[in-house]
Subunit: 164 residues, 2 copies
């Protein structure tokens, strides 16, 4: 028996991207990246600025297409992988997850490093990114390791600009 | 203007915890941990087993209390932090996020390392945990670093059993 759940917007993400966002966060991207949390929740940010990184969880409100169960990720040639083995934004539940650096918090606003979302994206949650608990330094690249063009793809993953 | 969004259950998480779950995933916990995805999505798991780690995103359906904007996390004495600087399960949107190891995938079932959720928890999404993109090895402990009992707390964070 499947259920459905109602979630609510608790803030809004402001970015320079009005139409297309990058595939992943770009650390040094130009422009201002700001999470504006509803002022009723401002006190909930207390001590959050002590963390280097935070998780930002949001609702990808601009996604209108229906998901495919398998996808061909960008830059992979024609490799097909399962939707859940990808970070494609078109998913059964359009929940986005990004890790960003906290620069500063002023009242109900968190200024961050580059966020890979379109301006106006509704915020669902923020969680601290905690050393050891979240930083799995023995993680791997999964199916990306099978690609010939892996080095090139890793530049995209790391958000490093390049010309080829 | 705040909006609300409907999300749907896409599977069910099976764990040995019928009433109380641990605060964090325990890597070597006893019992079987299994994510059963609706069979319509089984093909979406293709190549997911190549990743060491995955994100599991779920709806904490057993949470009935209303959230507090500030919380006193366990084992911290009386330190009060903002809700969003904590991983407390009682949040405006009860979205849970856990990182677990993939052991094997058989049809529509993912067998994992210890998952810190109650048996029967509805699944919302699965994403691959990708090296570099997600493993921030310069992450820190935030406000936890201010605690005198930090070493002890880090055992809890890492899910290491101890008697004191």
């Amino acid at each position: 028996m499947s259920m459905s759940f109602e979630l609510k917007q608790i803030g809004t993400i402001r970015t320079p991207y009005t139409d297309n966002a990058p595939y992943q966060p770009i650390n040094n991207d130009k422009g201002e990246f700001r999470i504006v949390i509803d002022s009723a929740y401002a006190e909930g940010l207390h001590e959050l600025d002590l963390f280097h990184y935070i998780y930002v969880i949001y609702y990808m409100h601009r996604i209108k297409r229906k998901e495919s169960i398998t996808v061909i990720p960008p830059w992979t040639g024609d490799m097909k992988v399962g939707l859940f083995a990808s970070r494609a934004p078109v998913r059964p539940n359009p929940i986005g997850l990004s890790i960003v650096r906290v620069k500063r918090i002023i009242n109900n606003e968190i200024f961050t490093s580059g966020l890979d979302v379109i301006d106006g994206t509704p915020l669902l949650d923020i969680k601290p990114y905690i050393k050891d608990l979240d930083s799995k330094c023995d993680a791997n690249y999964g199916w990306i390791e099978k690609l010939e063009d892996r080095e090139h793809l890793s530049l995209h993953i790391k958000g490093i600009p390049h010309d080829y």
